[in-house]
């Protein structure tokens, strides 16, 4: 009935570590975070767009939420909510394009919450979230056109992208916008790193909530993630050291 115990045990332990840290911070613990340049640049980018009197652009990519890469899009939409909050404080408009219909529904909800929190619920306009279509390149074509037509001042591409990311990022850069991007999709990271002013690498996109809200839930979860990464790195290094001495215990255990 149970195929293998190792993944289950590891899965439950991981969940336990994360939820344990969330609990710990919720009951008053602290966990100071190091700085991430790309996240520090967010406020700066919104500020610059405001100075230029141009809108801020955001898109969370083409992936659907109901897939195993969906959490990248969720992370992207979460970041959008903080960007929108900040932009509303500055009185700057946010334009978002959306490729996937589920993401569209989410984005609409998230933006309403964000503007309410910023104290400007009246800023929300459904026309500023543009659904284009899940057809990849049609989404890209529509997006680059909107970037140019609206003369955007800052561009955020954070979420789950496919081949269209480069076209959009390059168009934004040529428009003169500051480009902040991020994804955990390995196939797109090389392009985004090369073309953007700032790029959130892999896991960093899942950390935005903790940096912007500082809520115990998101910071606690980040602390739990840190523990798991320390363990993962130690397993790789320690397992290999043991393997060098012909002890393959760790490798065998993981293969079970």
């Amino acid at each position: 009935m149970i195929k293998s115990y190792v993944p289950i045990v590891l899965f439950l332990l991981s969940c336990g570590v994360i939820l344990g840290w969330v609990r710990r911070l919720s009951s008053g613990g602290t966990y100071p975070l190091r700085r991430i340049a790309a996240l520090d640049a967010v406020t700066e980018a919104i500020g610059r767009a405001t100075e230029l009197g141009r809108p801020v652009f955001f898109t969370a990519g083409i992936r659907d939420v109901a897939t195993s890469e969906g959490m990248q899009v969720v992370a992207g939409v979460e970041m959008l909510s903080y960007v929108a909050e900040k932009a509303a404080e500055y009185g700057t408009r946010v334009i978002a394009t959306v490729a996937n219909q589920n993401v569209f529904a989410m984005t609409a909800e998230v933006l309403q919450v964000a503007y309410k929190r910023a104290g400007h619920p009246e800023v929300y306009r459904e026309d500023d979230i543009r659904f284009l279509s899940p057809a990849q390149m049609a989404y890209a074509a529509g997006t680059i056109a909107i970037m140019r037509r609206e003369k955007i001042g800052a561009s955020f591409l954070v979420g789950g992208f496919a081949g269209e990311a480069m076209i959009m990022a390059d168009a934004a850069v040529e428009t003169g916008a500051i480009q902040i991007s991020g994804t955990a999709r390995m196939a797109q990271l090389p392009l985004l790193v090369a073309v953007s002013d700032y790029c959130l690498l892999g896991e960093e996109i899942f950390a935005t909530g903790a940096y912007f809200s500082g809520s115990p839930v998101s910071v606690g979860s980040l602390a739990g993630q840190d523990v798991l990464k320390l363990v993962a790195g130690a397993l790789v290094l320690g397992g290999s050291l043991l393997a060098t001495m012909n002890i393959t215990f760790v490798k065998d255990l993981l293969g079970k």
């Binding site: 057809a135 790195g233 397992g239 393997a243």
Partner: protein, 202 residues
């Protein structure tokens, strides 16, 4: 030069897209609106086919459970009427829940355990050392907490140098891979334009 209507359509639309390289212009605007329209229409039709094929047809064949997702699907439209707008929370919550369940169950095995296991190799060659150290430092690079002791901070500095070097080489290699695909596509387009359309390439 070709006399086929289809070849001309393809060629002109391709040139229309390329006009963006000069700058945003009315021709590109036309092509862009056409494309967004076609794309949305295509995807809408596929979506409707899905509703019929996976929803209504099996439902009429006796799978009564499908009433639930169909009802949930209709509930999404509650957002247009304020008093019942909360109904649309159900379908979104469920779709996102399916995504998160797929993520958390799939990643631990495929992305976590399998990848760690594959990286455990005896440190008997330069390549293996680079592989192991590169992987471990890259994982540790994403440590988000602050470090208290001076020694820990210094070792993090070194870890981050090794990690960034590894990642950047990976990005360089990845860049090439993406480039290769684009060269192949571009060759295809040039063949289309200068071969099929203008007959310059035999």
């Amino acid at each position: 030069m070709s006399s086929s209507f289809s070849v001309w359509t393809t060629a002109l639309l391709t040139l229309g897209v390329y006009s963006f390289l000069i700058g945003y212009n009315p021709v590109f605007a036309i092509v862009e609106h056409l494309f967004v329209g076609i794309g949305a229409g295509y995807m809408a039709a596929i979506g409707l086919q899905n509703i019929v094929k996976q929803g209504f047809t099996p439902l009429t064949n006796g799978n009564a459970w499908l009433v639930v997702p169909i009802a949930l699907g209709i509930m999404i439209y509650a957002r247009y009427s304020r008093p019942v707008a909360w109904l649309s929370r159900y379908p979104i919550a469920i779709v996102v829940a399916v995504g998160s369940a797929l993520t958390i169950s799939g990643t631990i095995q495929a992305q976590f355990i399998a990848q760690i296991q594959d990286t455990i190799v005896p440190l008997t060659s330069f390549s293996n050392i680079v592989l192991v150290v590169g992987t471990a430092t890259t994982i540790w690079y994403f440590y988000f907490g602050t470090l208290k002791s001076k020694a820990a901070q210094q070792s993090y500095e070194w870890i981050s140098v090794a990690a960034r070097a590894t990642m950047m080489m990976a990005f360089g290699a990845g860049y090439t891979g993406i480039l290769a695909g684009n060269i192949a596509r571009m060759v295809g387009i040039i063949r289309q334009l200068f071969g099929e359309w203008l007959h310059f390439i035999k």
